[in-house]
Amino acid sequence: MTEIAKAWKNPIRDRVGLGWRRELAVGILSHLDRIDVVEVIADDLFDAPRGERRALRALAAQTTVMLHGVSLGLASSVPVKTKLLEKTARLCEEVNPEYWSEHLAFVRGGGVEIGHLTAPPRTDATIEGAASNLERARAVVGSAPLVENIATLIDPPGSKYDEIDWINRIIDSAPCDLLLDLHNLHANATNFGYDETETLKRLPAERIAAVHLAGGKWVEALGERRLLDDHLHDVPDAVYLLLTEIAAAVPHPLTVILERDGAYPPIEVLLGQLDRSREALAEGRLRQFEQIEKEAA
């Protein structure tokens, strides 16, 4: 391997971090030398006591913090609640994150709060609704969020487009880049029987700014076996392979966040998954370099 290739393989340009959870706080704070960035759930802090928000500001002073929203319901023909956007704006002002992110999901309809992230019908109406919601989000918060693909156990009824077509149309018409959740992509590809690596190639590499990693488990749903994205299990091998594919294709530095929402293992296990992510990134970066070298030869 040439010296240049060795240097290229060093994934120092990419950053790897963890989702902030109260249960992981001690582990995160005592290993900030191995965690480049921390992602905090914005909604947990909207109405948090002053002390908790002060702690977040202290964390942001020590490391790079990103904010991640879960309740806006951007992918809907119905306008996002202004109050939620204002709360997001206030938090962003306090923390000054490098970016904030939200899901391409709908979470309420007809006055019903669904209580989790769900896939809306993939239609022109939800594309236009998402674009308009994203524009409003940018206007109120001051910056547009990165938008994240979600996992779904059912193909949303009434859809006109497949998932990737639908996402591409939204980011074509809105001022935002992608937070690509690789386990969501893996779960959807597994559950609906399509090739995940080929699917990845249909997304514009230059618009992928950040990546989520997580794990899941098999469940019975609607009489069929489905892979559920539950954030309670380790990242599977298939997701690391996808991360390598992304690193081979994306020309700019990536931010990679490991999400774990429960069944917490010792922090060393999660740090081990961060190390493995760095290795997967390095492998992809080397491939990218070899490709560039080949084309230049």
């Binding site: 809907s76 023909s77 119905v78 709908f106 309420r108 309809g109 007809g110 006055g111 019903v112 709060e113 669904i114 209580g115 769900t118 809306p120 019908p121 239609t123 109406a125 939800t126 609704g129 949303p156 009824p157 009434g158 609607l222």
Partner: protein
């Protein structure tokens, strides 16, 4: 059905088990009623 009504219909079948079972048993019939 308007986009907003379709989303309201889906929200209902996502959260309400009875509605979901009725929908799964007769998708067209239930959608027509919505």
């Amino acid at each position: 059905m308007s986009a907003a009504r379709l989303e309201a219909f889906l929200a209902k079948i996502y959260v309400d088990e009875d509605s979901r079972e009725r929908f799964l048993a007769d998708p067209r019939g239930e959608a027509a009623k919505a």
